[in-house]
């Protein structure tokens, strides 16, 4: 039965004290983490439009990142949180089609596409409207509605006992987050890491997946990053979204594709391209002990950040994120 709401009792005060002590200890542990080993390669590619030879560009990016996919069961996770005609909310169909072709050319055993949108129930309808069926061979056979997928429980998720996640995602040898470069009115920016919200099943957590907001968006993103270490990121910044993202913002041409095997490194790089200080993004702060976020930890390949720097307009409440 639902709790009647917070009431101040001695027990609650003691519980709060204990929670604060645990949080403090956790913070100390985090501070003691030396950070990730070595450096992570991130490739930045210049693409003026979706008419560019995207597959060729991605092949070059994959080689630069030493991406290995032979024999793997690969799950491609586009961003399809919503669809509105003419809006730049979702991962562009041309990008997703090129990623399918890339992983087939790399010898992947199976290339699956899966998404669990956050607002709309009819995932296949959204995929159809976004042009995925028309642009991607055998789309229906490849596609899994992650909101209504079979589930398995993963123990421990932030402060909760655990979380149910898509079995397709958990069983994949490699999850490829194929995100769009966007600002986000709650998180500052939504890139490859935030895109992992789509593996959380709406059939259990609802539309929207409010449980993740209750956990805290930053913490939930960081936990999903921890749970899915076998991942790769391809962020579509050819045309991104600025302002009131992730749904109601405006198109912002940036001309960049960003790829890499550490989602944190890719997102930190995207932030720098967008003129956002990655050190100010909560979920990147939270994974700094696991992921490569600082400039010195990232081996930048391809184009330079400065060459493609495109300051995105930020939601007013996130103006403090802007790089100096």
């Amino acid at each position: 039965m639902e709790s009647p709401g917070p009431m101040i009792t001695r027990r609650r005060v003691l519980q709060a004290g204990a929670a604060a002590a645990i949080a403090s200890a956790a913070a100390c542990r985090q501070a003691a983490v030396p950070g990730p080993r070595g450096t992570a390669p991130v490739t930045i590619l210049r693409a003026a439009s979706y008419q560019a030879d995207l597959l060729d560009l991605m092949r070059r990016g994959a080689a630069a990142c030493n991406l290995q996919a032979r024999g793997k069961r690969v799950l491609l996770k586009p961003n399809l949180v919503e669809f509105q005609p003419g809006a730049v909310i979702h991962t562009q169909a041309e990008i997703l089609a090129a990623v399918v072709a890339l992983f087939e050319s790399l010898g992947a055993r199976e290339v699956i596409i899966g998404e669990g949108p956050g607002h709309r129930r009819d995932t296949m309808f959204l995929a159809e409207e976004a042009g995925y069926r028309a642009n991607i061979p055998h789309f229906e056979k490849r596609f899994v509605d992650l909101n209504r997928d079979d589930v398995a429980r993963v123990e421990r998720f932030a402060d909760t006992d655990g979380i149910y996640l898509s079995r397709t995602a958990l069983a994949a040898d490699l999850i490829v987050s194929v995100a769009r470069m966007k600002t986000h009115h709650w998180a500052g920016a939504t890139l490859s890491m935030k895109n992992l919200f789509g593996v959380v099943p709406g059939a259990i957590y609802g539309w929207p997946k409010n449980h993740l907001h209750q956990v805290g968006i930053g913490r939930a993103v960081a936990e999903l990053y921890r749970i899915f270490p076998r991942s790769f990121a391809i962020v579509d910044g050819i045309v991104g979204m600025e302002g009131n993202g992730p749904v109601q913002g405006r198109a912002r041409a940036c001309g960049a594709l960003v790829m890499g095997s550490d989602l944190a490194a890719v997102d930190a790089t995207c932030c720098r391209i967008m003129g956002i200080d990655p050190a100010q993004i909560e979920y990147l702060q939270l994974v700094s002990g696991m992921g490569h976020v600082n400039t010195g930890q990232i081996e930048q390949r391809g184009e330079s950040i400065a060459g493609l720097r495109t300051p995105f307009e930020l939601p007013p409440q996130f103006e403090h994120l802007r790089l100096g």
Partner: protein
């Protein structure tokens, strides 16, 4: 031997899992929502069939001690589709102790935004998400905020339950929750006349509605005096013409049938989606919730 006029019902028989339940898609894990929808679709003519009884036994095994239903054999948490199980029991006329406990659980369940701390936070920054936290709806999960779809299902279930409530105190509580739940839905209506998941205005921007949630809200508000039904039905008919989402179309048809302004669409071959097939059959059989 099962003989079904509706091809979707025959299809549902064919895709029932060995444990008696249905997944969201054929061959997938049995889950509470698709199993309950499939049973609702089969309830009119086939409640005595072996297929129905196997499904029913599985659903019965999923009730939790607090009166709610768990999401599946794997998902051991109270699930919002408890509302659908209450509706199913109303269709079947089963008003036992299990029913009473489920209704009691649902009546007590509230969105977290109605808690004092959340209300204070909203009072401090009302323009973040514009809504009235005093109008208490239902969440997808206990401990989270209220949204349109679980509220619509809860209102529909409790409206049926109220007709069969023999306890005057509980009947009063049910009526109060229905009333406030409907007011919550009215308050969350988008400027374009429909409903989305539950935010009509966010950070100063109006948000658009969706056809599927609009259909559900109209079903939950059926007969409400505050709704201009002529305009609402016209809007639903327009949405039905425009949307290509099979799920949205199934809900819109169900809603329009309830208002007697549409004839059941010809039942074609099932799309492979258990919910779409079931909701379409529920509408076909005029078992609108």
């Amino acid at each position: 031997m099962v003989t079904c006029v509706d091809p979707c019902l025959a299809w549902l028989h064919g895709v029932q899992n060995a444990d008696g339940g249905w997944g969201y898609f054929p061959g997938k894990q049995s889950r509470l929502e698709p199993t309950t929808y499939a049973l609702l679709a089969l309830a009119k003519d086939e409640s005595r069939s072996e297929a129905f009884q196997r499904g029913w036994r599985l659903v019965e095994s999923w009730q939790l001690a607090n009166g709610s239903w768990r999401g599946s054999s794997i998902v051991n948490e109270p699930h919002w589709a408890t509302s659908l199980v209450i509706s199913l029991r109303c269709v079947l006329g089963i008003f036992d102790e299990r029913f009473a406990r489920a209704v009691e659980w649902l009546v007590a369940l509230k969105g977290s935004e109605s808690r004092p701390f959340a209300r204070m936070a909203h009072w401090l920054r009302p323009s973040l998400i514009e809504f009235d936290p005093a109008l208490t709806g239902w969440p997808w999960q206990p401990g989270t905020s209220a949204w349109v779809e679980p509220t619509a299902h809860a209102v529909m279930a409790l409206r049926q339950a109220l007709k069969h409530s023999r306890d005057p105190h509980m009947a009063k509580a049910i009526a109060a929750r229905i009333s406030i739940g409907q007011r919550m839905l009215l308050e969350r209506r988008c400027r374009d006349g429909g409903w989305n998941y539950g935010n009509r205005r966010l950070l100063g921007f109006d948000l658009p509605s969706y056809p599927e949630t609009t259909a559900l809200a109209l079903l939950a508000l059926f007969g409400h005096v505050s709704v201009d039904w002529e305009e609402a039905i016209r809007h639903a008919e327009q949405l039905l013409q425009m949307t290509r989402s099979p799920l949205a179309r199934a809900w819109l048809e169900a809603g329009l049938l309830q208002h007697g302004v549409a004839r059941p669409a010809a039942r074609g071959e099932p799309s492979g989606d258990i919910l779409v097939a079931s909701i379409g059959s529920i509408a076909w059989n005029r078992l609108v919730l």
